[in-house]
């Protein structure tokens, strides 16, 4: 997202000055001409729970450093060295999700992808796209249902291949409607 680079600048500012920027400073940091744009950015970062406002209306960090809570830091007013090291970490959401706006979850039914390690009951993270790559595990719509298979290219064009020898490849008669590619699998025990 476009705000990512602004967040990086806020982190940099914080490391350098050991405090959070004012709206005017934020405006300058982001390279905006108007203070309004800086204010809007602060509102967005507050909405995203990256920043918060304290009782006097000043900006304070909330989840500025990834998913890591920085409560201790707010009270002390100085970052401890350990927390600074954590600036370069990411949380699980960031690790698992590339394009947030295009990401959806589906629950797995059946064992047609068992040899790819995907079991019944797993959650798959899928990203909607118009440009799936051959060889990827994709979500396609076949006969009004979602199906998850490998996308393959054969002599007669694209088809879907299961990861289980008990299932047959699917050669859709009227064009293949791939809607998403699988980006990850979650299994919670």
């Amino acid at each position: 997202m476009a705000d990512e680079k602004h967040i990086a600048k806020v982190i940099h500012f914080f490391r350098k000055h050991k405090r959070m920027p004012s709206i005017a400073e934020l405006t300058k940091l982001a390279g905006f001409a108007s203070k309004k744009a800086g204010y809007d950015l602060s509102q967005r970062l507050i909405a995203q729970k990256v920043l918060a406002k304290d009782t006097t209306g000043k900006l304070v960090p909330r989840q500025l450093f990834g998913g890591i809570k920085v409560l201790g830091l707010v009270e002390a007013g100085w970052p401890s060295p350990a927390e600074e090291e954590l600036v370069d970490t990411m949380n699980l959401d960031e690790y698992l999700i590339e394009n947030k706006e295009a990401t959806y979850l589906l629950r797995v039914k059946g064992d047609s992808m068992i040899d790819a390690g995907i079991q019944e009951g797993d959650l798959v993270i899928a990203e909607r796209t118009n440009t799936p790559k051959v060889g990827a595990i994709v979500i396609a719509e076949v006969d009004g249902e979602w199906t998850m298979k490998y996308l393959r290219r054969g002599t007669q064009g694209l088809y879907l291949e299961p990861a289980n020898k008990n299932y047959k490849p699917i050669h859709p008669e009227e064009g293949l409607r791939v809607i998403a590619v699988v980006k990850g699998v979650i299994r919670k025990y």
């Binding site: 809007d40 990401t103 039914k109 059946g110 979602w146 998850m148 919670k188």
Partner: protein
């Protein structure tokens, strides 16, 4: 015909409008619904959104479920899943923000964006930017949108309505007149049916007729909002893009109906109490308070019984309002009457005094605010209403709807391991895949 202006894009305003947004979201997440007449609003008993297939069968907004079943027996009527619609709505705003920081979140299925000045940094013409936004939206959200690109908001709205669904209509200022000549004046944003019929009587039939009224006549015979529309039609921006989140409300109202109706005063009061809690949560979020309150009960035969109360001090504390309403409630409540809804309106909102009050008698209030500050923080963490007033208990226990109208959206019935009824992963779960 003469142009209304010589410039094409003195500013470039984009209006993005979801096509049958709620019903489309439902069709996106369940492929078996595609191509079928889908209607949302089961819990309200009326259609709140209809798929294009349902519209083609004559289903209109706010039509009762009974009438829908008559004209469209195979209609699929679903409970509204506002969580899904809200998640999709936020994604819509964020996708548009990739192309411009100036995005106005106009409503759950609409937004405006100011693209002015973005041609150079994006290396695309305005229409190309609009196409790219539409492509991203439709690919990533699986829902279609209609877009209008024009020099002002009013014209951009004309554009997004021009060609639905999945249309993109570009209205450069110098060509606006050709569009407006074909548009009845009443179809303009901000021109209601009464103004439209007034204008039509005066010979102003099309939107172009309206734009061509001379400035002196216009200024003399029309009030301010209509003058704004007149300027906007002539490509002069009056309505700016408002990127700020709503910071304050003039009034806050919370109303809810329940089924089946009830004659039990304790249950009806609990419903009212729950509405009061909801209204206060919203007021506290915006640091507002009210001392002029209005509450009402709705009977089965659609009659309203109102109660007006004035408090000594403005408040956003539900127990204060509940206490103040007990007596008026007993006065208006009629035994053996079927009630089907309650509501509360906090009016004349003012900035909350909150904790800062110095007077001794306010100490108790300050302590209460402190408590609710913690309750609000707990609600953030554990979900809304994880703690509620005892006076609301019956409303929570029984729920608002029993029978077919009480069916929860699919997502709330398909919880993932570790999710609760109140808190779920903020990513749409689009069903099962085999």
């Amino acid at each position: 015909m003469e142009s209304l202006t010589l410039r094409s894009f003195p500013r470039a305003i984009l209006h993005v409008d979801g096509d049958s947004f709620f019903a489309s979201c439902e069709q996106m997440q369940d492929p078996t619904l595609r191509g079928k007449p889908v209607i949302t609003g089961l819990e309200r008993g009326i259609a709140s959104s209809m798929s294009y297939e349902a519209k083609a069968r004559g289903v209109t907004r706010a039509m009762s479920l009974r009438d829908i079943k008559k004209i469209c027996p195979d209609a699929i009527i679903l409970p509204s899943d506002y969580e899904l619609y809200s998640l999709m709505s936020l994604r819509m705003y964020d996708i548009v923000r990739r192309y411009s920081d100036a995005v106005e979140e106009y409503s759950i299925d609409e937004c405006f964006a100011d693209l002015t000045g973005m041609r150079r940094s994006l290396r695309m013409s305005y229409p190309r930017i609009a196409e790219a936004i539409q492509r991203d939206l439709e690919t990533e959200l699986g829902v279609t949108f209609s877009l209008g690109l024009a020099p002002t908001k009013v014209l951009a709205k004309v554009g997004s309505k021009w060609n639905k669904p999945s249309g993109l209509t570009v209205i450069p200022g110098r060509e606006a007149h050709t569009f407006l000549a074909q548009l009845p004046v009443g179809d303009l944003w901000g021109i209601g049916p009464q103004t439209a019929s007034y204008l039509t009587k005066k010979g102003v039939v099309t939107a172009l007729d309206f734009a061509l009224v001379d400035e002196a006549t216009m200024a003399r015979s029309l009030s301010k909002p209509f003058r704004a529309v007149w300027y906007e039609l002539r490509s002069q921006m009056v309505y700016p893009i408002e990127t700020e989140k709503k910071v304050a409300y003039k009034s806050i109202s919370k109303t809810k109906t329940f089924t089946p109706p009830s004659t039990d005063p304790a249950y009806v009061f609990a419903q009212l109490s729950k509405n009061i809690e909801n209204a206060c949560i919203k007021a506290r979020r915006y640091n507002q308070a009210s001392r002029h309150l209005y509450a009402f009960l709705k009977t089965q035969d659609f009659r309203y019984q109102g109660m007006q109360i004035e408090l000594a001090n403005p408040t956003a504390l539900p127990h204060v309002i509940v206490r103040a309403l007990r007596e008026p409630f007993q006065q208006v409540f009629r035994a053996k009457t079927q009630y089907r809804g309650t509501g509360i309106v906090l009016t004349e909102l003012e900035p909350s005094l909150s904790q800062m009050d110095l007077f001794g008698e306010m100490e108790g209030v300050a302590a209460s605010y402190k408590i609710f500050e913690h309750l609000d923080a707990m609600a953030d963490k554990f979900g809304k209403h994880s703690i509620f007033l005892g006076s609301s208990f019956l409303a929570h226990k029984r729920g608002s709807h029993e029978g077919y109208r009480g069916v929860a959206p699919k997502r709330q019935r398909a919880l993932l391991k570790g999710e609760t009824k109140r808190r779920r992963i903020g990513i749409p779960l689009i069903g099962e895949v085999s």
